[in-house]
Symmetry: C2
Subunit: 336 residues, 2 copies
């Protein structure tokens, strides 16, 4: 049975969940793909653990200090590595360089953190193509909400003409609080933080930049377009006026923070803005922790997907979905 050695960078809530799920599915990978999956190394900013023959579940709490960084992880000779750290190998900003070394060596990679991908996504993708490495990023866009998957798999062969995405539960919450409870932006934000909406801890979902980053990755990886973040028009929920709220309320419209890609004449244009939807539009039903995407194609009409899931389990499952796709390719087992 072929060995597949996996290393995980990042051992916060998502990294831990990935590790647990991965170990629990060992026998599934063996019986389905004929591979013996070993988790050979894990690390976070300061600590880590590597075990030549693969970690067991009861070792996941035994990280030791000083074992971290790119050299530490690569010395475990992974076939595949999972970048689930918030900063991609910490404050030295070596995320992109690390990913680059791994892909250059033909090591497959699954990336959750958007950092390195935003700056360097197209080049990393090109590098993966050159060496034949697989580079998967479901966890960085939508996670359990299929986005790149939809474009590459479910709509294979079709021409997408427009894509909309509601990616920020924080913005959903804030807009609903402003519309339905008359809350101000800061009141709504305070409530969202109390509710534990993780993305509200950063400004990126207030100013729209979090959605903008997801649009760029969707264009770079899902549409093979070199769209850069500087080319986007971005307006977040912070730009919403009381007048706008009052007008939408009187028209019974439902505002949502939406990232939109429009494909026209061979180019892709991206915008992030709060847009009102009719109440009969499935995008208007996307509330709370839910996310959604609408893809309009020439051949298959319009597809809308919504997802409501609990984190960190859903993102971990999205990462392991990517793993499963890679295992199919590496094992050549495509029979179901």
């Amino acid at each position: 049975m072929r060995d597949i050695r996996i290393a995980i960078d990042g051992f916060g809530a998502i990294g831990r969940e990935i590790a647990s799920l991965l170990l629990a599915r060992h026998d599934h990978y063996a019986s389905t793909y004929g591979v013996d999956v070993h988790l050979v190394a894990i690390c976070e900013a300061e600590m880590g653990l590597s075990v030549e023959g693969g970690l067991r579940t009861d070792q996941l709490g035994q990280l030791a200090s000083g074992k971290s960084g790119a050299d530490f992880l690569l010395s475990s000779r992974p076939d595949l590595f999972i970048a689930a750290g918030s900063g991609d190998m910490g404050a030295d900003q070596s995320g992109s360089g690390y990913l680059r070394s791994a892909l250059a060596a033909g090591c497959d990679a699954i990336v959750v953190s958007t950092g390195a991908l935003i700056d360097d996504g197209c080049r990393l993708r090109e590098l993966a193509r050159t060496t034949g490495a697989q580079l998967k990023i479901s966890g960085a866009i939508g996670a359990a909400l299929p986005t790149i998957d939809m474009l590459q798999h479910n709509l294979a062969g079709c021409k997408a003409v427009r894509i909309e995405g509601i990616f920020s539960p924080c913005a959903n919450y804030i807009l609903d609080a402003m519309m339905n409870c008359g809350a101000t932006l800061s009141e709504a934000l305070g409530e969202a933080e109390k509710e534990g909406l993780a993305d509200c801890r950063s400004r990126s979902d207030i100013d729209g930049s979090g959605t903008a980053r997801k649009l760029v990755l969707l264009a770079n990886f899902g549409l093979d377009s070199p769209l850069s973040i500087d080319s986007l028009t971005v307006q977040g929920v912070e730009a919403i006026t009381e007048q706008a709220i009052a007008a939408w309320r009187s028209q019974a419209m439902v505002p949502r923070l939406v990232g939109t890609l429009v494909l026209e004449a061979g180019s892709v244009r991206g915008t992030v803005a709060v847009r009102p939807y009719f109440p009969g539009d499935p995008m208007a039903l996307v509330r709370g922790r839910c996310t959604a995407t609408r893809i309009v194609t020439e051949e298959m009409g319009e597809i809308v997907v919504t997802n409501c899931a609990a984190e960190p389990r859903a993102t971990a499952a999205a990462v392991l979905k990517d793993l499963e796709h890679i295992l199919r390719i590496r094992s050549g087992r495509f029979q179901w």
Copy 2:
């Protein structure tokens, strides 16, 4: 460049659309997968055409009589054949036998017609596994609405616990006419037929059997469950009483004809019935020509997909999506 020889059985609206799209994408297949795709034979019940080096678009109207049937198509030595005929090789009921011969010879198959699959799906699937042939059936369930795709690809590794599907535009139309316009079942059915809703031409969408067939295929092919059609509890829109309509109207509920699969303790249970949804449920928004599925999983929460598309283009595009997945496997090109 490797040749891929394709034969199509069925040359009605869907078969013609498949042939046109396939020929139009010849260069795309060559550049993306390095394969030279030839349409070597097409036939319908009485007529057909085969061209050793592959048909051109201007030859699609030149079918000659007497060229039909399994022997005719197989004599064109296809690598892949597409079963898009309503009866799978006509009234001799040889559909299953034909599919069986092709799969036994290792020929890949894409099937739109449900006939042979319902009677013989699990055995055909087992045969394909044995010979290494790919057997794809997106066009038989949901078409442009991803269903099997969702289970096998987007939710890879996850455990589905419940699946709902709204597969009948005819039933959507009838239920809306009864709810919103006070129409009787026969009035609503007459209107739907006038509107050209194709599935209303048969009784299968009134009595729920069309949805039941799709559930069986979804269980057999998407869940690897041997669910048989006899085990389903099936009630169609014809069972709806005026009292039920009045009650749903007074509660502001939206009834839909829904196929449901419940996965429990290793077994799969299937029912087809008209069920009321709250207006804030995305399934309640599925109207007219639209279809939808909801999949509840342990790891990724709940995913709802809706599709609104124009036929026969959408079903043809779904068949060619299946083709694209097969070409990836046959060419080994999985880089995007």
